[in-house]
Symmetry: C2
Subunit: 277 residues, 2 copies
C-alpha cells in the first residue's frame, strides 16, 4: 500500500489566480515518483485561523507526510509557522539552529553587497521563530529555512513558496526522508495517443481492460475533437519493484491498444515505456 | 463584503502531478475579478467517497458559490456527479434536458463523420444522469453538459476538466450567475518591481503602509537574489466601485514607492494601474 501524503499550499496569490500553483504539481509528481500517494491538495490564504484549521483537518486524516508550501518569509503575511504552532498548541520560539542559518545568510548578503550593513531586525528574526521541537532545514538559495516537525505519526514539512527555494530544500533535505517512508514502492506510468475514436467508444474498452488488470489505473484525457477526436490514454501502476510494474503496464498497454484498433481507432505508442524519477 | 466561493478540483491526474491545475488558476482569477473571494481550493482524486466527503465539508463552510472541475465524462472514473448525489442524498437520474443535449451532440458527430453510427450507449447516457433537481448547462465544445444545482444558500456548479470546455461553459452560463451574486464589488490590482533591496527591508515598510491603507492588501514576491535582490510588490483591493478602488491603489502605490526609494531601492512602476476583467 502506498504511503498517504497531503499538501497544504498557503498564499492569497493562489486564491486570486495571480499565481499558477506549480509547486503543488512539482511536489505531487516527486512524491508519487518516490512511491507515495498524494490524496489531497488544499490551498488556502495567508490567514492563521485558516492555516491552523486546515492543518488540523489534514492531521485527522493521518497522512504520513504533510507538506506545506508558502508563508515562511519575513513579511506580516508569512503566517504558516504561526498557523502550525496554533494547530499543534505549541509555542513559537527562536530556534538557535535556525537563528544561526538566518544570521549566516545576512552576513553573506553583506559580503556580496546585497545589503549594506548586518543587522538582525525583528522581521529577519521572525524567520528563525519555529514551533517548539522543530528542526530547521537549510535553504541553499534563499533566507527562510524549511521546517520539519513530527505530530504523532505525521511528519510535517514546511517549505517556502518561492519555487526554486522549495525545490532546493526538498531535494537537499526532504527527498531522503520521504524515500525512507516509502521503501519498496515504485510508481510507473505511460501514455498512448489515440485518433479517430471518441472517448465514449473507448470507455467500455477501458472498463474491460481494467477488469483484467486490476492493478493498473487507466484514464482517458480528451485532447479535442475539432476535426477528429484525439485522446491520450494514461496508464499507471504502483508496484513493489520496477520489473513487476513495467510488465503490468506493457501487458495492459498491448491489450487496450489491440481493442482500440479493432474499434477503428489509430494508436500511437510512445517509443518506450517511460519511468519517472 | 466579498461573496465567499470555493473550488473543488477532481482528478487523479492532478494528484500524481501529471497535470498542472490551470483550471483552478483560471477560475480563481475569473471569480476574483467578478468580485468574489475564493477562500479555499481543494483537489482530490476520482473517488466517490472523497468527492462526497470534501463536498460536504465545503458546504459546511457555507460558500455562496461552489465550483467543481473534472469527472463529468463517459468513463468509469468520471465520478463527480455520483459524489455530489451521494453528498446531498439525492438520486442520480436521467435528466431529459441533458439527454437531449447529449443526443444532439452525437447526431452532430455522425454528420461530421467523427463517429460512424448514432447510438446512445450506456457510457453516453451516463453523461445525462444528473442529481435530482439539477439544471444542465450546455457544453459548446464537448459532449458532457455542465451541471447547476442549489443546496440551501449554495449554488453548486459542476464543470468538465477539459480546460476549453470548462471555460466555454463558464463564460456562456456561469459568469452571469456569479455577477448577479457579486453586485457592486470590484477587484483591482497592480504590481511594482523593486531592485536593490531585500524582502526583509521591505517588510517593515509594508507594515507601515498597510496601517495607513487598511483596505489595500500588499504582498511581496521575491523573484531571486542572484546578483541583486529583485522583488515584485503586489497591491490589491476590493471596493464598491472602480473609482474608489483605483484611488486607493494609486495612493498606496505612491506611498510604498516613496518609502522604498528612501531606503535605497529602485522601483519600476507599470505604465498604468491595471484593471482586470
Amino acid at each position: 500500500m502506498p504511503i498517504h501524503a497531503e499538501l497544504l499550499c498557503v498564499g492569497n496569490e493562489l486564491l486570486i489566480g495571480k499565481t499558477l500553483n506549480t509547486n503543488a504539481q512539482w511536489l505531487a509528481k516527486r512524491l508519487t515518483t518516490l512511491g507515495l500517494e498524494v490524496k489531497r491538495i488544499t490551498t488556502i490564504g495567508d490567514n492563521i485561523e485558516e492555516i491552523a484549521e486546515t492543518l488540523k483537518e489534514a492531521l485527522q486524516r493521518k497522512p504520513k507526510i504533510l507538506i506545506t508550501t508558502g508563508g515562511l518569509g519575513p513579511t506580516f503575511d508569512d503566517k504558516t509557522l504561526e498557523g502550525i504552532a496554533k494547530a499543534l498548541n505549541r509555542s513559537l520560539e527562536i530556534n538557535q539552529e535556525a537563528y544561526k542559518m538566518v544570521e549566516e545568510k545576512y552576513r553573506t548578503y553583506v559580503k556580496e553587497g546585497k545589503i549594506e550593513k548586518f543587522e538582525l531586525t525583528p522581521h529577519r528574526v521572525k524567520m528563525a521563530k519555529l514551533p517548539e521541537d522543530s528542526k530547521p532545514l537549510p535553504n541553499p538559495i534563499g533566507t527562510a529555512p524549511g521546517v520539519l516537525l513530527r505530530h504523532k505519526d505525521t511528519l510535517i514539512i514546511a517549505l517556502p513558496g518561492v519555487p526554486s527555494e522549495m525545490k532546493a530544500i526538498f531535494d537537499e533535505s526532504v527527498a531522503a526522508l520521504v524515500r525512507k517512508q516509502a521503501q519498496n514502492v515504485t510508481f510507473f506510468e505511460t501514455s498512448i495517443y489515440v485518433d479517430g475514436i471518441v472517448e465514449s467508444e473507448i470507455a467500455p474498452l477501458i472498463d474491460e481492460v481494467m477488469r483484467d488488470n486490476p492493478y493498473v489505473y487507466i484514464k482517458s484525457h480528451p485532447k479535442g475533437v475539432k476535426k477528429k477526436p484525439h485522446i491520450e490514454i494514461h496508464l499507471s501502476t504502483t508496484a513493489k519493484d520496477s520489473t513487476t510494474a513495467k510488465k503490468r503496464i506493457t501487458k495492459t498497454l498491448m491489450q487496450i491498444s489491440d481493442l482500440i484498433r479493432v474499434k477503428g481507432g489509430k494508436t500511437r505508442v510512445p517509443k518506450r515505456v517511460k519511468q519517472e524519477g
